[in-house]
Amino acid sequence: MSMNPIAQIFKQGMIIITFLILCTSAYAQNQGGEIKLTVTGNNITLAQAFQQIKKQTGLTVFYNNQLLNDNEKTSIDLKNTSLNVVLNTLLKGKNIAYEIRRDKVIVLNSKPVTAQPKQEDLSVVKGKVMDAETNQTLIGVSVMVKGDRSRSTITDKDGNFSVRVAKSDLLTFSYVGYSPMDMVASNIKNEAIKLSSKSGDLNEIVIIGYGAVNRKDLTGSVAQVKIEDMQKSPVASFDQALAGRIAGVQVSTSEGQPGSVANIVIRGGNSLTQSNTPLYVIDGFPMEDANTLAINPQDIKSISILKDASATAIYGSRGANGVIVIETKDGKVGKTSIAYDANVGTQTVTKRMELMNAYDFVKYQAEFDPVYADQAFLNNGATVESYRNTPTIDWQDKLFRQGLTQNHNLSVNGGNNNTKFSISANISDHQGAIINSGFNRYQGRVFVNHNVNKNLSFNLQANYAKYKSYGDLASSNTSTNQPYASFLLYRVWGYRPLNRNGSTADFEEELIDSDGNDQRFNPIIDYSNSLNERVNENFNTSGNLSYKLSNNFTLRIRGGLNSRRLQEVTFYDSKTSRGTSLLASNTKGVNGGVRYTDYINWVNENTLTYKPRLKNGHSFDAMVGWTIQGDKFNRFGLTSENLPNETLNIYGLEEGTPGANTATMQESMLISYLGRVNYSLKDKYLFTASLRADGSSKFASNNRWSYFPSAAFAWKITNEDFMKNLSFIDDAKLRTSYGLTGNNRIDPYAIFSQMTLPYSAYYSFGDKVSQGITLSSFGNKSLKWETTEQLDIGLDLSLFKQRVNITADWYKKTTKDLLLRANVPYSSGYSTIYKNIGKVGNQGFEFSLSTVNVKGKSFKWESDFNISFNNNKVLALADDETRLLSTVSWGNYGSTNLYIAEIGKPVGQFYGLLFDGLYQVSDFTWQNNSDPSIAHANRTYTLKANVPRNGASTIKPGDIKYVDVNGDGTTNIQDNVVIGRGLPIHTGGFNNNFSYKNFSLNVLFQWSYGNDIMNANRIYLEGNDASRSALNQFATYANRWTYENQSSNIPRAGGQGLSNFYSTRTLEDGSYLRLKTVQLSYNFPTSITKKLKMENLGVYISGQNLYTWTNYSGMDPEVSTRNSTLTPGLDYSSYPQMRMFVFGLKTTF
């Protein structure tokens, strides 16, 4: 293992060197704003003179023969003279101007009418251009002389320029990524000219689908992530750092399992069972599965989030969930810089559960199962009181740990005008807060841009990442034999907390707790000996070719390939529940398996843009293109059982008995045609229209093609005359858009009925095995596209010299023909069928406010606040149904509906019984006309006739009671009502940047309000729903109902009622406010860095998930272990969220 990253770094080192060589040679050619040359000759033709220029400079002179008669004779004798002088001499007296272009061409044209200043009025002005903030010199800045392009130049390698100007000339300095600056020539003194970079500015370039646009010209709703703030979060992948940063983008992690990916939902989920993950476009490559873990967050240059239909419709069938467009860092023109950034720290759980101690446990067992309690604890004269001071084993102590994390980034960056490069490498290692779990990554990346000539340029990026997450999944059922017994946290919390009376065995080291009737396996020994690794190798590359066919037309061809191999390795030795032979349920003995999945996605895109130069305030551009994209995956796997030599680990797989094998593949293809036009009138009225046609292999040929149009209009109010007086408004723009987008995220073979021959369908006749076939899926030939229509109205406002920026959007989305993996009656022979079902609406409002609160000389405070409201509503369901019920599977629950989607109400509402406290003694009658003198233990309780029953056959005081909604005298599923909401009412974030001298502090708060959580852990561990013997409970259960404690609302031991019911008893408010990220950093002053020969040196401490304000009683309110739009907010045995602290260092050389 350890060789790999080193080899990787070495390989990259070689690449760096190769590039450095290439770059220096490219740079040499570009030397000299002032080329000196010698042109001599008597009575030569102009054509001959031009030949001499070409010979010495490589510059070809282009002209029209009608403009210039090149046979005209001239005499010239200029030695070592600048090219400008040579040309001026040759063209003297002619009404001809020239332009020296970068592609080594001199173009002659008729002179513009504007009066040229006479040569003798010109003087040379010299200067230097620098970055306003870093004081880095900027190379290749274009210095334009207004009205005379022939005198324009660029800055050299030291940022210097010299240009011949008249005093009144206006010079424009422009540079990619910086705001252009105009200066009157006479004002240029010896001081450096400082350009400020554009980020956060109205002029910033926003990357949108198949193009880029100036933020002020945007017609759609597109949000930009503040990358620098995002990168302050010490997490392994960028998705985990996005929470709370962007209005309308809800980011949450289902749980803390290392290597798990955040759920990102933009403007509410449209799709009910299918993925609501946005489409990712990474360096132009659209991907439904971004593999965000393969991307180093530090490599990201920009993230644009496309929210409304105007922005997303260009992605057609895949745009309905919103689009996240990511550009990775390319090289920067200038001195090659090397940056190294490293941090180390710890990860711990945000909370632990309080469990019953030994005394409470024994007391409970004595009430719940006296026979067991007598055998195990209350023998040899011991009573419950004897356990008052018995030490408790808290198994959480052994499960949770302080995980160490470290993260190293190295990047090299540089380039010149023609070639730029960026190379980086990252090593991360994050130990989880649970033993034997974690995540690590080795990653490297190269990005090169090159301009071949003035018309042709290309770029190429390649990213390789190998990342591994390990540890059994805490919230999945890892064994089908004992479904309830295989969820990690349940097992740890419920494991018996003390040894049997008089037992001398070391209970903590024993593999099996024989006391529970269900043969519980020691969860700590089990988890620490299990091997479950998921290793991904991801190679992603894409290349772009851009060719300027003429001044107006540009052709872009893009190709991309993403190849990922997932290797899943499992190995269970004899010290694990799945490998032991001590458990009857384990049929496999020591066993293991390896499974490989290869994913290949490729894309080809071809677009042509047309951008004519129009006059009179019209501006127009158009883009058309077609693309083709293919996805394919193959999976092969083998398992082996009863391995004789467990010390060989997985390398002994060949010695065992072969178990189940896997071989499967899927492929799909998408072909699209797209087009977009932008038109702007007088820079006040902006129009955009786009259309995409998509054809997908996932649908039958009659439903295969669909069309996704959109239109948008924006009005730049500030450019109207009547706004001129309102000087405090820098910019105001009103936007509106409407369009259609789609979703095709279904099984690529959903239209095909399929049959398979699994071993589970075999049967033996006369003791001879015979193959059997099953109907594995029902193909629905009539499936068609899911379509979302979206209307958006938005306002962008920038006030007080851009110190206050506001963006507000209102939107309304309607999704019809919802693609649903619908639960169907089992009586059909199937459990799920893909259907188009009904309509869902999402309507919402989102608001972001960015302010510069304090802008002093040394102290600065900037903040970003955002809040979003989304209101989700089911508008129609298929087949005249009025509701859609959903289940989630955990423990022994899997068939009880917990969620309901009803017409007119939001999806993902919790559905169940209303908890009505407990039955009290007064609800019953007993012997002798309820004689109170009879001791409780001797009473035979009969429920009074007017008190509703709870569905169980026997009921006693202290038993759980529900509201009998329909009044039929008993509570059952007919009494189920909506008991809570799974989706929040609003979510948001509040980000602050403080800086004082060299210190800066970033503080991010994030919240979710109004959603409920079904705390299913309490169903088993605060009431023992499944009546399991010797099962420990949460500490709260010590306060359960007893005859001595009748005011309690927690059911008596054994009083939990019928299993498989959900009620409001365990439904909790899941709202929270979280101090999500804090980073405090210090940048050493230049006086120190200069001595160290560094450009930059900083140190920081940062933390993630630092504090949470919530009423939720579980481990963490950011949880949804069976997450989908229909089934949000279940908490069962989730891997706890982790709190992270790191200390880091940042350097640039």
Partner: protein
Amino acid sequence: MKRITLTIIAIATIGLNACKNILDIAPKDSIAPESYYSNEAELQTALSGIYSTFIKGGTFLNNMSRMGLDADEAYNWREQNQVSDYFTSPGDTKILNFWREYYAGIERANKLLANIDKNTEIPQNKRDVVRGEALFLRAYFYFQLVSNFGGVPLILKSIETSDASELQIPRTDSKQVYEQIIADMKTASTLVQDINIIGNGGRVNKSAVYGMLARVCLYMAGNPINDVSKYAEAKTWAQKVMENPIHKLNPSYQQVFVNYANDKYDIGESLFEIEFYGNGSGLYANLGGFVGFNNGIRCTDVNVGYAFDYLLCTAYAYNSFATADLRRDWAIAPFQYTTTNNVTTKSNWPAQNLFNRNPGKFRRESETSTAKTSARTNQNYPLLRFSDVLLMFAEADNEINQAPTTAAYEAINKVRRRGYGFDQNTPNTTSDLSNLNYQTFKEQLQAERTRELAFENMRKHDLVRWGIFVPKMKSTLADAKIAPSFTGLLRAQSAYENASQRDVLWPIPSYEIGVNPKLTQNPGY
């Protein structure tokens, strides 16, 4: 401009041509039903797929003996708050799995029946045998459903679209379901092969169909349908089995079960059995079963035969036997295993401990296989034995004549003589019943079914059809209240206390009602 136009045309042409056929992508790793059922082997494979319904966790594999069907004969002492202890919730997963597996089997049968004549080049007689087996299996699956749930959706063809009208089917009245079962079984009886041709009871055969028809008719004749005309039909079907000279009782009651443990087929006695295969390891791990494991004698020694006992017997079951009846100490294990230092010994239960004993009918120590594991067993499980046919005949005959006839006596006494270890055809005063009236014969017959068929998954349905489910459960509760205390007894007490009139049927799974609003719930749930 020309250059540009050309480029555009070129790109567009490539793009348009490319898309013609490449979007037609069909699965390459599975089989399409349209292309299947085309030869004899494929029909057999499809048929095996239907048979495999029997060995699913939800049917006769892991949940067998864990769903309270042993009623007053045995109780599940390991599991609480579910169907096994009559604390039944409509959300019970075992009940849902039961429902799901049988309907999955029905769909496979429907699909095969719809496609069976696709290739008419397969000889008609071969197709008919397959058709007969598929029809019987579908009918048997419906029999399992209707006897446990009452009326159920009666689906006789596979779905073609995803429309609600095809997916959401209301319950058909239980009488109609029974009639369909009888009709299908009758058809099957003319198509399937004779048991002596097949040579074992593992495959559907004429005797199995006749015998099962007798059982279905008895269920229809009793509660809740009470169509007494069906007694005559039941008798006819039972007679058809008895007329076949190949059928006779195995001289030894014990040997019947030792045979199941060793995959030995006895087509004289065992008319239809579920075949389990292997020991739960390797490729065919799924084919192993839990006979003798879930319903066997608790044992941790793999060499003797590991058993995780769910079932403990009741005092009623034990006391129903006469002392001389050899079946008692086989059906109910009089001993327990104790393993210390890898040495396993047997020790007999004290006489008063009647609720502590495991069923001993299916004994893992009988297995002679050397590859025993603690995972699965290869023991087969009887669905229909000849002794059952004799008892059904006797019962029907007594009902028809409202008094025991000589034929009825002969049938029941054959079973008893064999049970006592006597020759089945020689009258014997120790074992034989005589001088009974209609009612006392009926009572003896009801007890005889426990004595002969205990733990064979029929007791609850028998009690229900006789209309004595609740009283029998409550009398067992009374027994449990006075028995010597131990952990299991608490379970017995709560199970028999919980059992009530509503338990004659299981609830329709709440999940199913959720996705099919046309379903109604059974009373009391």
